[in-house]
Symmetry: C2
Subunit: 220 residues, 2 copies
């Protein structure tokens, strides 16, 4: 596309950390395909790791208990948002410090170095990303979305970096008003909502172009 970035000085390559969705993992197509574009077209370094209980990581008893509560709520046709919030809060307590350590470790690589950091995460990747971005001052820009405000109001208010927020207008999992409320709750003065028709998984491909340009503008 149209996002050629000037080559960063050695040791200052901008790094994007990507958080995967619930039940997914670090090599899910939505992670790998976007990561490849961020690297090849934007010149970024990208890192993604499995969230606890996902991918190659063991499912602890505690994780299994929280996951069972989520599944039971879904099966009973309950409002799933409080269960999701419980799961995300449980996981964020573990993932946020891990991700902070991952950023430190990756930035120690000579091919990366201590350049600016961005974050990309949809759905559960947003639910963990909001507390991560709120807590981590090295993050300078974030693409978030596909999630409602439940359990995130306070952390969202502490997010002050530029944010791109993606919302699916006909999301079958996130009520529209709850997604709009999460965008509203973000503390950033520079935040843009992009909403497109379609369900939870149907983000148009051109939004990846747009996310790439957003990261180039803020981290490039």
């Amino acid at each position: 596309m149209c996002c050629g970035r000037r080559k960063a000085p050695p040791g200052l390559v901008p790094l994007i950390l990507m958080g995967h969705g619930g039940g997914q993992h670090k090599k899910a197509p939505g992670i790998v395909e976007r990561a490849r574009r961020f690297v090849t077209e934007g010149g970024f370094a990208v890192v993604a790791v499995d969230v606890p209980g996902h991918g190659d990581r063991p499912k602890t008893e505690e994780f299994a208990r929280v996951a069972a509560g989520l599944r039971a709520g879904m099966a009973a046709g309950e409002d799933v948002a409080p269960h999701l919030a419980t799961m995300h809060t449980f996981l964020a307590g573990r993932a946020v410090p891990e991700w902070q350590a991952v950023v430190t470790a990756v930035q120690e690589l000579d091919v990366v170095g201590t350049g600016p950091v961005g974050y990309f995460g949809m759905s559960m990747g947003c639910g963990l990303g909001v507390p991560f971005v709120a807590a981590e001052p090295r993050v300078r820009a974030a693409v978030l979305g596909l999630l409602g405000v439940e359990g995130l109001t306070e952390d969202a208010a502490r997010v002050t970096v530029p944010v791109r927020f993606l919302l699916q207008w006909d999301d079958d999992r996130v009520p529209r008003d709850r997604g709009l409320a999460l965008f509203d709750a973000l503390g950033s003065a520079d935040k843009t909502l992009h909403a497109n028709p379609g369900g939870h998984g149907a983000i148009p491909e051109f939004e990846t172009d747009s996310s790439l340009r957003f990261f180039v503008r803020h981290l490039g």
Copy 2:
């Protein structure tokens, strides 16, 4: 920016018609500055004309009567939306056929020709643009926004071309839910809402870059 377009064949230059805001005119800064970028960076032809009762055009008695109703409603602190809808309906009945004739006339110029047509209009330019885009099959893509749904539901449903819709999250003139309702009412399968913080006139400059890319993608 990054929007170089292949030069169109002679006689097929894409044309963008721009509709100005209420109380403004064809040479208002928001028209001229965007038009210059669409021409120089996108290779488009751009045309804007004064809406009846605006700019160099006479204010008829009928226009003066409708405008007086709008001003009186504003002065009385009434909900201004129905008055705006009345004004826009009155003006659209005149502007839409004029704009259709303008497209025909401009496309007869050798330097333009019968390429694809786009439309750009915010606020009143959206209020007249929705019925124009609904009525004019030569329009293939439109950037609209800064207006609520009042009086536009039926025409919006008849819009089927790709639409970019700009909404200001803290618009001091358009209640948020009414702007969202106009986006919702658009019949287009390919429509994207971009919402940014700030008041009615505070659309960020990067949205002009984005509109340019949108037109390049759909008309280029």
